[in-house]
Symmetry: C2
Subunit: 220 residues, 2 copies
Amino acid sequence: MKYILFDIDDTLFPSSEFSTLARKNAINAMIGMGMLGDSGTLMARLAMIIEKKGSNYGRHFDDLCRQAGVKEPARYTAAAIAAYHDTKTAIQPFPKVPLTLLRLKEAGYRLYVATNGNAVKQWDKLIRLRLALYFDAVFVSEEMGRSKSPAFYRKVLKTLGARADECMMVGDREDADISPAKKVGITTVRVLAGKHSGVPTQADHTVKDISGLFRILEQL
Amino acid sequence: MKYILFDIDDTLFPSSEFSTLARKNAINAMIGMGMLGDSGTLMARLAMIIEKKGSNYGRHFDDLCRQAGVKEPARYTAAAIAAYHDTKTAIQPFPKVPLTLLRLKEAGYRLYVATNGNAVKQWDKLIRLRLALYFDAVFVSEEMGRSKSPAFYRKVLKTLGARADECMMVGDREDADISPAKKVGITTVRVLAGKHSGVPTQADHTVKDISGLFRILEQL
């Protein structure tokens, strides 16, 4: 084993927790600016908008203002976005992540990120987590021209000049991290964290957090 | 005098200072991620890009990466944007501003903001400065359909249902805050702060900071 690929969200940091907190803080900021309605009702409405439009839709708060029929939406939208981003910018890695990455580097492993999403947004997370420098490269679906699939992982292997049996993929999602990587012969490790942690897995190994990798690597 | 209109940038907070600091922090963050070049040279290049493309152009850092010929721009752009926004989100009002606004409210004046720019961005500043609640409404050029001009100020007067002689406009810029407001008969107060402070003025009054308004209002 030489190359270890990591997902970011709910693998390196508790993304689900921070998203919930960011939304709560955003709603509270809108109320602080004079928006009518209680926190619980507005949270429920926001959740419906997010479910309908997807989490990458950029105008959740505008839609919430429109539903509430407010006259000056910029005031509330600005308050919500500010509070949302302030929470998101305070993201912290899972506690054992920084030390684990450092020890893996010391042990000679080459570390990479393989993630779905927008390149600048995903780099932003790595930078705010103070983890960016541990990784030799970051493979982002946007730049790779496809989301995480067998083709995505084959392209990663080709770029690294690596064989599948030299690679390990570590992530929380069965659909994006485990299943397609396993299909091309990469060793897979499922991190049981975040909102997808209840989904059944066919991963080669499971861990509670990435510090569990040492035990797995010793046994290979 | 009943209605007082305020500009935001370099009137309520030292916008010029924060912009310079934000750019320096952005360049330093790019260097921290491995960007080649020294801080001074990169700052000079960035200044040239901003001068050429305007400060509202959204891809200054991408251009800087392209000029430098870096291979993985997302890494550096993400670092720059994060540091830039972190600095901007820490904006503080000029020291006497919060107390002055509170005293003006106590004295019965109606306070408004009249500003060029994007509505959400300008509200964002007021919210981060913790000043948003002092203002009864915010007139932003984007929502008014025109930048600050005699027509802009006439529209403000109409919306307020106010006569020009009941209004005062307070701002740092001769071109946007003083000259067009004066043309429609609004009393004008020039704040001598920020990078435009050397521009000659035809304002009715000048102040070093907005706490000087009390002296002016007493004499009216």
